[in-house]
């Protein structure tokens, strides 16, 4: 009896010191807020996947689900890959376009940034900062501003690019609006958007590569040269393998951002011409906010999430290393 009372008495005091209570409160409240704002939004999107939900319809009594916003199970996914409806075809087009965009951006980005970083790393240190700053400047520019600037450069009548073509005696091109123009099977409008996106984005990877190159021990390269390796062999046999963790990071981050491209595409082409630059996030946005197909949009978002996850896991498997230097 006595023992029980003692326990009770301890609990009455809360069992925790003031500092502990303060800690729990300061952690719990933000976590509850995060749960409500963040997790609930994700949970809501996940629930919507199974409904033909439009915010304009009142629907059933619980969260507007059911009734005029009916439960459709996995029908959205079935339609996406086998349906003949307009939204299904637009989804498939946007999926292909997103994959093209992401892989072309990744390849071109690596092809530009890695050699450029090596070049910058090789110049005298007083010029390094200058080059690094110049190449990093586009990253600091607002993406909408970048898109507007490139739209103007691509303008078929008044744009700088066509002006140069005219001066050289070439034929001007409607870079962003000609659905017939293509280059190696990729539409010119898609390539035009990729170039604009690359211009704005490559400085980020460049800085990362420069930092990684600076961290490679000089002794390793010197040892290779003493052993008779030429510069290319040093680069390919020493530098590239040692950069592998950085390359993995750059690949993952570039793919993630490329899969989520939206603003540059929306401003420059809005998915046109003839859906040739329609990417998945634009498809999600259009379906959700222009056509009020929130359920469909949530399902497309889920597919995008799965794709990004799978590609990231594959990259991490292929490029992972078990060592450090």
């Amino acid at each position: 009896m006595f023992k029980r009372n003692r326990v009770k008495s301890k609990n009455k005091g809360g069992g925790l010191r003031v500092g502990q209570r303060h800690f729990i409160l300061s952690v719990t409240i933000p976590m509850i807020l995060y749960e409500v704002i963040g997790i609930f939004a994700l949970l809501w999107a996940f629930i919507l996947i199974f409904f033909k939900y439009s915010p304009g319809r009142a629907g059933g009594p619980i969260l507007g689900l059911g009734g005029s916003n009916p439960f459709v199970g996995l029908q959205h996914f079935q339609n996406m890959f086998t349906g003949a409806s307009l939204e299904a075809r637009q989804f498939r087009i946007s999926l292909v376009n997103t994959l093209i965009f992401a892989f072309v951006v990744l390849v071109l980005n690596l092809a530009i940034t890695l050699p450029l970083a090596t070049l910058i790393e090789s110049v005298k240190s007083r010029y390094k900062d200058l080059f690094r700053m110049i190449y990093f400047l586009p990253v600091l520019t607002a993406s909408v501003g970048v898109a507007e600037m490139w739209t103007y450069l691509y303008d078929p009548q008044a744009g700088l690019i066509n002006a140069i073509l005219r001066a050289l005696g070439g034929t001007p091109v409607a870079w962003l609006s000609d659905p017939r123009a293509e280059f190696f099977g990729i539409s010119v409008s898609m390539l035009a958007v990729i170039i604009a996106y690359l211009w704005a984005d490559y400085g980020y990877n460049l800085v990362i590569f420069i930092a990684a190159l600076q961290s490679i021990p000089r002794e390793l390269k010197e040892a290779a040269m003493i052993d008779g390796a030429n510069p290319w062999q040093t680069f390919s046999k020493i530098t590239i393998p040692l950069l592998q963790p950085t390359i993995l990071f750059v690949c993952v981050m570039t793919m993630l951002s490329s899969f989520q491209v939206f603003d540059v595409v929306q401003v420059m082409t809005d998915g046109g011409p003839n859906h040739q630059t329609r990417v998945m996030v634009l498809d999600i946005y259009d379906n959700a906010f222009r056509f009020q197909r929130m359920g469909w949009s949530a399902a497309v978002s889920f597919v995008l999430f799965i794709i990004v996850m799978v590609v990231t896991v594959i990259q991490m498997r292929v490029l992972r290393t078990d060592w450090e230097y």
């Binding site: 509850i32 409500v36 609930f40 809501w44 439009s54 915010p55 304009g56 319809r57 009142a58 619980i62 969260l63 507007g64 005029s68 003949a84 409806s85 307009l86 637009q90 078929p156 009548q157 066509n162 005219r166 034929t171 001007p172 409607a174 962003l176 609006s177 000609d178 659905p179 017939r180 082409t269 809005d270 046109g272 011409p273 003839n274 859906h275 959700a288 906010f289 222009r290 056509f291 009020q292 929130m294």
Partner: protein, 446 residues
């Protein structure tokens, strides 16, 4: 055990609050109070302090008109305070779609009439004491009011006649330079096309630098196509309006005429379309001789291009054949939220803003829009401020409402426009385009 119960209770309370926040707790319906005077605002509807919010999309010209009306209403009803909250157009759409399910929308909402059928479940029907359908049809042109009537229920009152058909901006400077009569008097479409050909200019590299007749924007293409079908005696609706009939001889003849305009060199649809050289911009950049666009683009274009120095005017196209029958969207108007706790006052304001001749006239002049009320459209003030409206007076009675499509934006912008422009660009044939339009548009009913 008791502690567990308390924790469970707290968690359940948080969960329930979360659900209710997203579930859109509909406010208790208020007992309708007889409104005051029919929109004049002479008799205050209530003596209690009333605060209302009005949401509109962001358009400086439109909002200047709303501010004047709000000020006038608050002067006549000192107990009422109305706050105008504006949103950039895309954001306005998103805000409506998130706020309405949560029951957090403003008391009064600006709504494009054609959207009403999509939002009807979340809108308050107009009480008969405010205005009946018969009264609305007598007060407004049929096209603008038509969009606010869904399944025989009136949900709002229109402010503008959204006329996308037939109106063209004309560049007098270019007409004069080409030696063409201005203002144009076109007996038929062929005469207009001849002028357009004379206005077209190419640069040294053979690229079109000035389009004689830019009709390849989405609104112009879609509404001219629909009007062409009607003027040729056809229809794009089936008998009971449960489906579309786009693959018809009338539709084919209309699209073929459009293709002949492209072949005649009036416009290059690759260079002049919605994505490139949109008519609302390219006209004010002196890249267009005749630009097919609604009057609403005038105020915006002049504001966006203050350096535009060419002389210009606004004209109306002749019909394809027969009477100039056409279809129109139901334009911007006002609706009331069912969640408003002061619906009676909100309706009184809506009527004050839309059905009162002086207020409607002031708003149309401020916004540069065609009046939804015939009485206003025929007023001296409109004739003086917007002479192009006076020119269109004979045309307006030929307009009928577009019809309640399952998703108007989807049909117009993602089905009609893309296939029409692809046909004009030579990517699809006329038959392919019409078949695709017919199939895709009918699929929107599923």
């Amino acid at each position: 055990m008791k502690k567990k119960l308390i924790v469970t209770f707290v968690l359940l309370t948080i969960f329930a609050m979360t659900l209710s926040a997203c579930g859109g707790g509909a406010a208790e319906p208020t007992e309708p109070v007889a409104p005051g005077d029919t929109g004049s605002g002479a008799e205050p509807v209530s003596e209690e302090k009333v605060v209302l919010r009005l949401w509109t999309h962001q358009n400086n010209a439109f909002n200047a008109g709303y501010e004047t009306i709000i000020e006038a209403y608050m002067q006549e009803n000192p107990n009422v305070e109305i706050t105008l909250e504006t949103f950039e157009y895309e954001l306005y759409l998103q805000t409506l779609q998130t706020a309405m399910p949560a029951g957090e929308e403003a008391d009064i909402l600006q709504m494009f009439g054609t959207w009403t059928s999509q939002y009807a479940e979340r809108l308050e029907p107009i009480p008969d004491t405010v205005m009946t359908i018969a009264e609305a049809e007598n007060t407004f042109y049929s096209a603008p009011v038509g969009g606010f009537i869904v399944d025989g229920v009136l949900y709002g009152l229109p402010q503008e006649f959204n006329l996308e058909y037939g109106g063209v901006l004309v560049n007098k400077t270019k007409f004069d330079a080409a030696g063409i009569t201005f203002p144009p008097v076109w007996a038929d479409r062929a005469a207009m096309l001849a002028d357009a050909q004379a206005l077209t200019e190419m640069d040294n590299a053979g690229m079109m630098s000035v389009a004689g007749y830019n009709f390849t924007g989405s609104d112009a293409l879609a509404f001219d196509f629909l009007a062409g079908i009607r003027q040729r005696g056809g229809d794009y609706w089936n008998a009971d309006q449960s489906g579309f009939t786009f693959n018809t001889p009338e539709a084919k003849a209309t699209l073929e005429w459009m293709m002949s305009a492209v072949e005649a060199g009036a416009v290059d649809p690759v260079l002049f379309n919605d994505e490139e050289n949109w008519v609302g911009d390219s006209f004010f950049q002196s890249r267009v001789g005749i630009g097919y666009i609604g009057t609403w683009a005038i105020a915006e274009g002049l504001a966006n291009y203050p350096d535009f120095a060419d002389e210009w005017g606004y004209a109306w196209l002749p019909s394809y054949e027969g009477d100039p029958v056409f279809v129109a969207d139901s334009g911007w108007g006002l609706v009331v939220s069912p969640n408003s706790t002061n619906k009676d006052v909100a309706w009184d304001f809506v009527k004050f803003a839309t059905a009162n001749k002086a207020n409607a006239e002031g708003w149309n002049i401020a916004s540069g829009t065609i009046p939804a009320m015939p009485d206003v459209a025929k007023s001296d003030a409109i004739a003086a401020e917007m002479p192009w409206v006076a020119q269109a007076l004979d045309l307006l009675p030929y307009g009928s409402y577009l019809g309640n499509m399952p998703d108007r934006d989807l049909v117009v912008y993602d089905i009609l426009y893309p296939h029409l422009i692809l046909a004009l660009q030579g990517i699809e044939t006329v038959d392919e385009a019409l078949e695709a339009i017919d199939a895709e548009a009918n699929a929107t009913f599923e």
